[in-house]
Amino acid sequence: METITQQDLDVFRAETRAWLEANCPESIRQTPKSMEDVFWGGSNPHYKSEDQKQWFERMRDRGWTTPMWPKAYGGGGLSKQQNKVLLEEMTRLNCQTPLFSFGISMLGPALLKFGNEAQKKEHLTAISRGEVWWCQGYSEPGAGSDLAGLQTRAEDMGDHYLVSGQKVWTSYAENADMIFCLVRTNPDAKKHTGISFLLIDMQSEGVSTRPIQLISGKSVFCETFFDNVKVPKENLVGELNAGWSIAKYLLTHERSMIGGVGDVRKEKPLFQLAIDAVGRDNGKLDDPVLRADIARWMIDQEGLMWTIERTTDEAKAGQPIGAKSSFFKYYYTEQNKLKYELLMALNGTEAATWGDTYDEGKLARDFCRTKGNSIEGGTSEIQLNIISKHILGLG
């Protein structure tokens, strides 16, 4: 598999480029404005446009919704190198992703590693083909940072599990067809060892959802309730009571995703926004404290970007990244919060305006939303714990 030559790759690149140029519609060759504009799949698919549908279907038919998954499960069967070429060529044309889903980014990797053959065949294929919208059921009202403290019960009823409990922060649960959950299957065991990984159909009797209103307004988050929900036994992934290792595997995956997310669109640099809002005095920003705060932020931000670059280079040179992703998660989210503090400051009273819709008072709402950055995906405190324990060896 991995004995692919540079020549083979060059051929693959040429073919891919030609195919993309022929098959990616013009309107798809631009960065999506938000996650709303991306195609999410599901049993009740919403296409923004005919072009989006066509693009999805063409990519799906080549298995390029999940390029590296095995062809047997609807994937593209590409090698790592080929996948890199594909991504490079898509970036070159600025092609949108044909399908975005937690099935691809989260459940897929778990199933590939921990699922049995039947599960892979059924679920991976449906994910690749965009037929099922998956959501994630981890956190509970009483189990946030202490995820392993979760209480949602799955009782073994012989031919099925009976699930009762509540999940929170289940993004898009209202839209989802299925949910992958952590549930407690042994209440007597030590907390990490009594957890299993279960797949649940959202159409099952006893499942209900409620959207969560955030301090910033409407959100994609929901609460999801399970009231004596019957779940077939074949929906258990991995061993019974061994769900924690799957969760840990996925959480690491999620953290590195969040840490790596940069700003999608090119923005005006912060100092330019400040000049526009506050003006200059003697050539300098007409607020020396804000000027220093902005300079500090920009220096740290550039330093962070260089550190991501350096860490990537070190990884390529064979140095393990280890728990460093916790540092990136921490620093990136704290910087983002600080950026919005500065945006609020430079926009003064104007920034404090709200309105009935999100777009009225967007800055204030975005600002409120950033406060969650250091909570979701593992709080800042948890990241500092991890750095301290796993990098510095304190504990």
């Binding site: 403290g149 009273t349 709200w354 409120c368 969650g372």
Partner: protein
Amino acid sequence: MALIINEEQQMLKTSAAEFLQEKAPVAALRKLRDEKNRQGYDQALWQQMAAMGWASLVIPEQYGGLDFGYVGLGQLFEEMGRTLTASPMVSTSLVGAHAILLAGNATQKERLLPAIGAGELIVTLAIDERRQHRPAKTAMSAVKQDNGYVLNGKKVFVLDGQVANQLIVVARTAGKAGDEAGLTMFLVDAKAQGIEVNHQQMMDSRNAATISFENVKAAEVLGQVDQGFGVLTQVLDIACIGISAEMLGTMCEAFERTVQYLKERKQFGVPIGSFQALQHRAALMYGEIEICKSMVIKALQAIDQGKPDLSRVASMTKAKIGETIRLVTNEAIQMFGGIGMTDDEEIGFFMKRARVAQVTFGDYNYHLDRYARLLGF
């Protein structure tokens, strides 16, 4: 003067706290918001507050007020800060009344102050013109014509501007933006021709207005022509201290709720308040709040005593309170975690109110600079 409140002030504080917790808790603000109330406050509540004398607390007895002093008024603001109570107390009783009291002639005082005290008149100051509070940079023009002036320009962030009866408009009768001299305050009827009021909902669920003036005739000057800046400074100093008292109440309540949450919320089998990193951060906040408490009472006393360095005290208080409330409400959200991010939980309302209060009458950077300027460095 001892830095404590006396028995009378304590009684006022206690009764205010009881009243507000019953009649105007945070839930009341949520209701106003969800009902999309454009007035910005509960009219019936405001009438009750006025009936109790709150609107006339610092108005002299000769104008029907209680002449109770600013330390007393500060106690009210602190309690209103705890419950996030929306009312015209800031716009009218703190700022409007004070401008009239300091700058008005006998006729104006007799006409307006009793009505303000009775809760019948909303009088607000229209000063800011851009995002940042920069009184001396006021550019709005007032051109002399016949017996009066003609106003042209735009004012933003006018507190309760959407319901005010009278506007106190700061405009330039001489000089250029940046000059302290040449500013004049005008009393203008909010319904005067040429005035357009645009309602603006703020993030704290209160309201303000953007008001444009097109050839508005202003016949009534408040105070001296061209000499408005001096009185304006006094008014704004008192405004800063009053709102600092409110912010103190807000930060204390937010902090106490956070500490309570740290005791209740369990993770890893223990209250999260048992984690030393959170303990130390809570202890640091405690200390900053103690400093703020001292500043607020010192500043309130300075008003009552007519201290000559009131501007310096006002700026240092507003600056310190602004930074501390930022810290406390940010930490509150972080320590409440996911639940703090939800609208169901009330703690978010405290952060939102904090943000608006921080920029009202000048933000941290403005007052830090002003403090240094006043000391001469």
